[in-house]
């Protein structure tokens, strides 16, 4: 009896196994990039030195926007996508 079919299925499963991991990492990596940016350029994070800052400089802070984008992607898109990927 040949086991070739089973081997092929196993190989295909192993080849595609990286996909859920990458999807699960996209959001957290984006968040990490935002945090790293805030550490490297703390002056872009006006919450750390709010005195004398205008409304928009306190509301729109690029490193925070990157973090928010990462969190939003992970919670709103990646989770359901991972579920669908598992079912497939």
């Amino acid at each position: 009896m040949s086991s070739q079919t089973a081997t092929q299925v196993q190989t295909r499963t192993a080849t595609l196994a990286w996909r859920p991991r990458v999807i699960a990492l996209l959001g957290p990596l984006t968040v990490a990039a935002g945090i790293a940016w805030a550490i490297l350029q703390p002056w872009r994070l006006t919450l750390l030195h709010p005195h004398g800052q205008g409304f928009w400089f306190l509301v729109v802070e690029p490193p925070l926007l990157v973090v928010i984008a990462g969190v939003a992607f992970h919670t709103l898109v990646a989770r359901t996508l991972l579920r669908d990927l598992e079912e497939s």
Binding site: L26, T30, P62, V66, I68, V77, T80, L81, L85, S88
Partner: protein, 194 residues
């Protein structure tokens, strides 16, 4: 109460970052899994369309010369065209494969708009550098949506398409109203604001 122009660039940068995340995810899981939920199939085209709509108030309130206004108007139109065409394709209303060329067309028009409305050299100041950089990025990057139009399931084209938006997001986050670039700031540009 209007935000300064640089803040508007940062907000659009966030939009492009989200677009790139959606497209990366679609490239990774493939079209079949991505479209398993209807809302996800419409996600990035409607997001691109919305960004095109939001570009109109930017054109109206944040441009200080005719050439800037024309460039922002061109971006608004082609973003709406690309988003609308992709929505039509996903919905099945647009059958002709030629509609897939709307997105590479939008890239080319956007790139040209960047390059044509920037009249200063690369190192004049940061925004001049970013205009040149974004213009060439979009012009060269148009090869990815073009490849995607020809071979929609080609993961390399999809990933490259997503990467162009990620690069555009980084460039827009770097934008300031008036700032040096790599230590260069023309005396003609004026004093940095911050």
């Amino acid at each position: 109460m209007q935000p300064p122009a640089e803040h508007v660039h940062w907000m659009f940068a966030t939009g492009f970052l989200l677009l790139s995340l959606f497209l990366f995810a679609e490239a990774i899981v493939g079209e079949e899994v991505w479209r398993r939920r209807a809302w996800r199939a419409y996600l990035w085209p409607s997001f691109a369309f919305l960004m095109g709509v939001l570009m109109w108030p930017v054109m109206t309130f944040f441009t200080n010369s005719t050439i800037h206004m024309v460039a922002h108007g061109a971006w608004a139109q082609v973003m709406m065209l690309a988003g609308g065409a992709e929505l039509g394709i996903v919905r099945g209303k647009l059958q002709s494969p030629l509609w897939r060329l709307a997105t590479p067309f939008a890239f080319v028009v956007s790139g040209l708009a960047f390059l044509l409305h920037e009249q200063n050299p690369w190192l004049f100041q940061r925004s001049a550098f970013l205009h040149h950089f974004l213009g060439w990025t979009l012009l060269v990057g148009a090869v990815f949506p073009l490849a995607r139009a020809v071979r929609p399931s080609w993961a390399v084209a999809q990933a490259g398409f997503a990467l162009v938006f990620a690069v555009a997001a980084v460039a827009l986050y770097c934008d300031r109203d008036l700032a040096p670039v790599f230590g260069h700031l023309s005396p003609l540009a004026g004093e940095p604001h911050r």
